[in-house]
């Protein structure tokens, strides 16, 4: 009987895959009938996402469509926003400097002038919707629809308005140099972990002006308390930790926000993000890490969530219950943020450019010189 079971396990794969591999446990992908079945399930899942996205295209209404100006080989940025008039001026400036050629925004019922601000930009195409953010898989359905139409054959960044990408040599080499490097390595995706930035002192005691570099207000970050695991189903990373785990999830680390992202992909029709930009399908897009000890080229998304507005925004988000699949679990998190704590500690590091992040091992230049 035991022998039979052993044979069955070998053919079918193990009964239930572990939820996450920790460092040093990641095995080779298995070859079995069950593994093939799982791969097929992922394919179905991806298609379901696409069908959803195509259906939800009706929810968005065009405000300013300048997508006809997208040239061959242009680098595109796809963003969903809601009331981000404060962050957007610097956001646009940052990515224009990096060499994004065209921005495609979906505005989810902003009331603070975001719509007008974006509609006036020459390199922005804007759609708007009043539909539910959570019901659209946190905006992904809308973006997937747009990417299906405009993204195929381009390197596409998928971002939030509070994320600023840095990568090795970013102050001297534009995104095009990066994408060419990735292409020459045979890669189609680029990983960038979110790094939460915070101020010294109470969150709402800071002052931020639109257009200002957020790093002047939020220069601090946690440098070495990240938990890296890999989820075997799609072999995607699962990184948690940082200041939010330290300050708000010390009692329940499993619930701490996911930090790994794959924001830059050479898009083809049929690709889909699964869960924000944390993972994508087909699964080979998640292979942004080396399993053999080497380092791949990777970047960092500087996360400017903790600008002073976070305190009032948290109150609003908590009311709307649109930001987490299981909003009830995050009550104490919102309460924590709304109390406007001081996240700084003596071990915090002050941001000092990409070379510092690279030296700290938060990102890597791989073999790029």
């Amino acid at each position: 009987m035991a022998r039979l079971r052993e044979v069955a396990l070998r053919v079918w794969g193990c009964a239930s895959p572990p939820q996450a591999f920790s460092a040093g446990q990641l095995g080779l992908p298995e070859l079995s009938i069950l593994a093939m079945w799982r791969a097929y399930r992922l394919r179905l899942r991806r298609r379901a996402f696409l069908v959803r996205a195509l259906r939800k295209r009706r929810e968005i209404r065009v405000v300013a469509d300048r997508s006809a100006g997208i040239a061959k080989g242009a680098i595109l940025a796809f963003v969903t926003v809601r009331n981000e008039a404060l962050r957007l001026p610097y956001f646009l400036q940052h990515y224009r400097k990096l060499g994004v050629d065209h921005f495609l925004f979906v505005d989810n019922a902003s009331t603070d002038g975001t719509t007008d601000l974006l509609a006036a930009q020459p390199d922005v195409s804007l759609w708007s919707t009043g539909a539910g953010y959570k019901a659209a898989r946190f905006g992904l359905d809308w973006l997937t629809g747009l990417m299906w139409r405009h993204g195929a054959g381009h390197w596409c960044l998928t971002l939030d308005a509070d994320e600023l990408l840095v990568y090795p040599y970013c102050e001297t080499r534009p995104l095009r140099a990066l994408t060419e490097r990735l292409a020459s390595e045979g890669r189609q995706s680029f990983g960038a972990m979110m790094l939460d930035l915070y101020p010294k002192g109470a969150l709402d005691a800071q002052i931020y002006q639109p257009g200002q570099d957020p790093l002047e207000v939020l220069p601090w970050f946690d440098s070495g308390n990240y938990v890296v695991q890999v989820q075997p189903r799609m072999r995607n990373l699962w990184i948690q930790g940082g200041v939010r785990a330290r300050a708000f999830f010390a009692a329940e680390p499993r619930r701490a926000p996911t930090l790994n992202k794959v924001p830059l992909i050479f898009w083809r029709r049929g690709y889909a993000y699964v869960n924000s930009t944390h993972a994508a399908l087909p699964p080979h897009l998640n292979a942004v890490f080396s399993e053999t000890g080497g380092e791949l080229l990777s970047g960092i998304l500087l996360h400017t969530k903790f600008l002073p507005v976070v305190v009032e925004k948290s109150a609003e988000e908590r009311e709307r219950r649109e930001h987490f699949a299981n909003s009830a679990f995050y009550e104490s998190y919102y309460a924590g943020v709304m109390a406007s704590p001081d996240l700084w500690c003596p071990a915090s590091r002050r941001y000092d450019g990409w070379r510092q992040l690279e030296a700290l091992g938060l990102m890597s230049r791989g073999g790029w010189v």
Partner: protein
């Protein structure tokens, strides 16, 4: 006498035109070959851009797929054209469309004028090259390669394997000794014309047509037949990454390129405006005529390859997540795990910190909180002292701690009361130095004020955990430096082990210990163990403690080391 440039171009033709103009305007004839796969309008644009220059020619176009004969054919034709059209040319320099001259043409001309008979071409016998990526050395010359490597990789590989299995071997034409080397050379008219006008050329060409990557071997091999003076190095700076692809130079490489003192560099990113502006338009000069020395910048590139292939030891992050045994070092630096010491000695951590000049942690894996040195709540790298955060991913916690404190030796206490998740991880980590006083956990029990039945139960539990742990340490998988003493052994002579531990932690302070930490009070401990035995629990890990007779440290004074005078 002059130097002429043969340029092989296939992309970024506008940049190629700039470079060609630079050379042509400085009286160096240029022959340009453009890949046949480049579209006609682009080609016409290039011709038009250079139409005003009298000393620029375009040679017949061949399709140059990487690794195939086309590149050599193109080179041959362009070189023939150069020799025929420009009689004053003495050296022919082979360059590509993405090359950039780093030093003024004048310097190159002077350099070549003082070496009128020298052929600069890297040319190494197949058995001596270390750089071929993919493993084909001599087999490049003895197998056939009819399938495209780029487009039909599988068939290519399969056919190579097939030929190996059946023992297929092409005959190298008599007189040829296969040599390999960089594709970018600078040959004299004499040598080059001898190669091109050789009576056997038809035959050798037929042979090389089926050789793998002939552009790296054709001229390199032929030059050995005709040249009197081969200088086996390339004047072109060209660096290759771990995949064998050329590194691309960007604007931020300006200083690096200057420092190399090479004449020409490849390959330059077409959008690197600053590089093109600097080197093509503001001819700096003024620098002493140094010998080209790409070795000066080698370190940077070899480090990059190492970073890509081996990575940084002990780092687990978003783009480095090694499988088991591929870690290249589980942790970043050596650390010491001390088990039982804080039970045997009073205030051991403070003492150790003082003696070894480092911060010694308490029990990092204590069940209630992480006991960082100095009772800090947040340690280096913003590691929190929350036990829940640590226990969520204990191995990450440990590897993070060691990574965050590179350069500062970490020591911490460990014991059966702690979370044991990291036992295997530490035991298999060559960086760990684990020193165990087995059975020391009994001392706090001995001093505690609990009911004896509780003590007995607790003792049984701890003994079980420690026995398992020691089992792990003694397993043949263990790679850590491990030392285990029983409590009885240790108490008899504590100084010797302490000395060796302190020496390990701070090897440079080769100082003999003068002051021992204070031993815990062990009066009546033997009786305590006997009581445990009487209650049916067998304490085995402490070693031999005679009942009734209390152990005394053999000496309070240090024995003098044996000195030979």
């Amino acid at each position: 006498m002059s130097v002429g440039f043969v340029m092989l171009c296939h992309t970024a033709l506008d940049r190629a035109a700039e470079v060609a103009r630079h050379w042509a305007e400085r009286d160096c004839p240029v022959v340009i070959h453009v890949d046949r796969r480049v579209e006609r309008p682009a080609y016409d644009g290039l011709m038009a851009a250079l139409a005003d220059l009298g000393n620029v020619r375009f040679s017949g176009r061949y399709a140059c797929e990487w690794g195939t004969w086309g590149i050599v054919a193109a080179t041959q034709e362009a070189a023939t054209l150069m020799l025929r059209e420009f009689a004053e040319v003495r050296h022919v320099y082979l360059a590509s469309g993405s090359c950039l001259p780093l030093r003024p043409v004048e310097e190159l001309r002077r350099y070549l004028d003082s070496r009128p008979r020298t052929d600069f071409i890297e040319s190494v016998t197949t058995s001596d090259v270390g750089w071929t990526v993919g493993g084909l050395n001599l087999e490049r010359f003895t197998l056939r390669f009819p399938f495209s490597w780029r487009k039909r990789r599988r068939i290519f590989d399969w056919y190579v394997r097939f030929q190996r299995r059946i023992g297929f071997c092409r005959k190298v034409p008599a007189g040829l000794v296969p040599h390999l080397g960089s594709q970018w050379w600078c040959l004299t008219r004499q040598t080059l014309s001898a190669i091109l006008e050789s009576p056997d050329r038809a035959e050798t060409d037929r042979y090389f047509r089926r050789v793998w990557i002939p552009d790296e071997s054709y001229f390199q091999t032929m030059v050995r037949l005709y040249s009197t003076n081969v200088e086996s190095r390339s004047l072109t700076l060209s660096k290759f990454d771990y995949q064998g692809k050329p590194h691309i130079f960007y604007d931020d490489h300006l200083q690096l390129l200057r420092r190399s003192d090479c004449f020409v560099a490849r390959k330059i990113w077409p959008q690197a405006d600053k590089l093109y502006d600097t080197f093509l338009h503001n001819a700096g000069g003024g620098q002493p005529a140094a010998e080209p020395n790409p070795g000066k910048i080698d370190r940077l590139f070899s480090k990059a390859v190492e970073r890509r292939i081996k990575g940084r030891a002990g780092l687990y992050m978003q783009s480095r997540f090694p499988n088991e045994n591929w870690e290249n070092g589980r942790t970043a630096a050596p650390y010491s795990v001390l088990e039982g010491f804080s039970e045997v000695f009073e205030n051991f951590e403070v003492w150790l910190g003082k003696v070894a000049g480092t911060r010694a942690h308490g029990h990092l894996f204590a069940p209630d909180r992480v006991e960082f040195a100095g009772n800090e709540t947040v340690f280096s790298g913003a590691l929190s002292d929350s036990a829940a955060l640590r226990d969520y991913a204990p191995k990450n916690f440990l590897s993070n701690l060691i990574w965050n404190t590179r350069g500062e030796r970490q020591c911490f206490q460990f014991g059966p009361n702690d979370r044991q998740d990291c036992s295997w991880f530490m035991a298999c980590d060559p960086n760990a130095q684990i020193s165990v006083i087995s059975g020391a956990w009994a001392i706090p029990l001995f001093h505690s004020n609990q009911n004896f039945s509780d003590i007995r139960r607790e003792a049984a539990r701890l003994q079980k955990i420690e026995a398992d742990h020691i089992g792990i340490l003694r397993s043949h998988y263990a790679k850590a430096r491990i030392r285990i003493w029983t409590l009885a052994e240790f108490v008899e002579n504590p100084m010797e082990p302490l000395q060796s531990i302190v020496d390990e932690i701070s090897p440079r302070s080769a100082r003999r210990l003068t002051e021992a930490p204070r031993l815990a009070d062990l009066k009546g401990f033997g009786q305590f163990l006997q009581n445990l035995r009487n209650q049916g629990m067998q304490p085995v890990l402490m070693g031999d403690f005679p009942t009734g007779e209390d152990p005394t440290p053999a000496t309070t004074r240090r024995r003098r080391p044996y000195l030979v005078k």
